[in-house]
Symmetry: C2
């Protein structure tokens, strides 16, 4: 019948604004230092309020962290969900890569929060990796496999293909500091995402196009 959190939720506009401000600040902090490395005081200060005041809106540290994780997993997988089995294989993969890369560009903190959670063994995702995530990937891997069977793209392991798309795109958010350091002042600006898009297009499309 639902928890007390959704029965007791008239949520005035002020409440929702404050909660959003807290989650916003928490995203900043958690994405850098992980759950254990972040403190409530830190988040409270970033949100411009006192710790007891923050705890008035979220009753514990985990209560701030959990909704962030929940929101992110859903957002994160949206591009994969949109991979259309009836579309043109190569353009479908291309736009999947692009969408994923745009997410790294536009939501780097979310990517880092996700990475932080993975690094410590994803306790915040308890079973969801083995159920929801696996189910979605299984489904899309089957789509990709059917494209291979039709000879539309070159044969390879669809799971590792998906992993490599995740890895290459998320890298630009998670290892942003390294990327910018290596590219230097001129090439490390905002244009790096366009360079990356161009490169990844080439790598994957050239790598997947059948030699017919």
């Amino acid at each position: 019948m639902g928890t007390d959190t959704d029965t007791a939720k008239p949520a005035t506009r002020i409440q929702r604004e404050k909660q959003e401000a807290i989650l916003e600040a928490a995203l900043d902090v958690f994405s850098q230092y992980g759950f254990r490395g972040s403190t409530i005081d830190q988040i409270a200060e970033a949100a411009g309020m006192s710790k007891p005041n923050l705890l008035y809106y979220f009753k514990s540290k985990e209560d701030i962290h959990a909704p962030l994780l929940a929101r992110i997993l859903d957002t994160w997988l949206q591009p994969l969900r949109e991979l259309d089995a009836h579309g043109d294989p190569l353009p479908e993969i291309q736009s999947y890569i692009r969408r994923k890369l745009e997410m790294s560009r536009d939501f780097p903190r979310e990517s880092r929060l996700f990475a932080n959670e993975m690094l410590r063994g994803a306790p915040g995702f308890h079973g969801v990796l083995h159920t929801d995530l696996k189910k979605l990937v299984d489904e899309k891997a089957e789509v990709i496999r059917s494209w291979m069977a039709q000879g539309k793209i070159v044969k390879c392991d669809p799971y590792h293909l998906i992993f490599s798309i995740w890895a290459t795109t998320q890298h630009y958010a998670d290892f942003d500091i390294q990327v910018r350091a290596v590219l230097g002042k001129e090439r490390g600006g905002e244009g790096r995402f366009e360079d990356a898009a161009r490169f990844l297009d080439q790598l994957f499309l050239h790598g997947l196009k059948p030699k017919n």
Copy 2:
């Protein structure tokens, strides 16, 4: 003239063993929870000693963390250093990918420690990213570019090529939990690294081979 740490270092064998045990335990802990999320007590317990005893060998938390970081950056870049400008381009890149993947398989904690450091902005690497790392990548990017100029491999951005090799290989260490969850019981065993190697070979070699 060096710091006091290298002037005062007779370092009996027992001392070195204990220090190594501490660093080993610290690697376990830091790689999961990051610097701020890890505690000295946690490390001490993992090393099988009391906190004050640990602090007898390393005088602060940072003093345990710093040598781990220093060691890892060097180890991590070794495969790239070995990329031979005078070797055969495609096999060179292939064995670079393989070496990198083997490191993810054999040293996943080191990979995660590195990732953790990147996520929080790499304060432990202060300037080294912009100097040593950039210098090495610049150098090797030039090698790759020369291969492209010779028509040995297809033209693309060598920096993003290197990034994509880093990303795809390290993914198997940093996101290990996710990878295993998605691959499931049967396909998620040790064999996943061979599958990954096979896939990455195909992706990069097929993607880089010039169409002559």
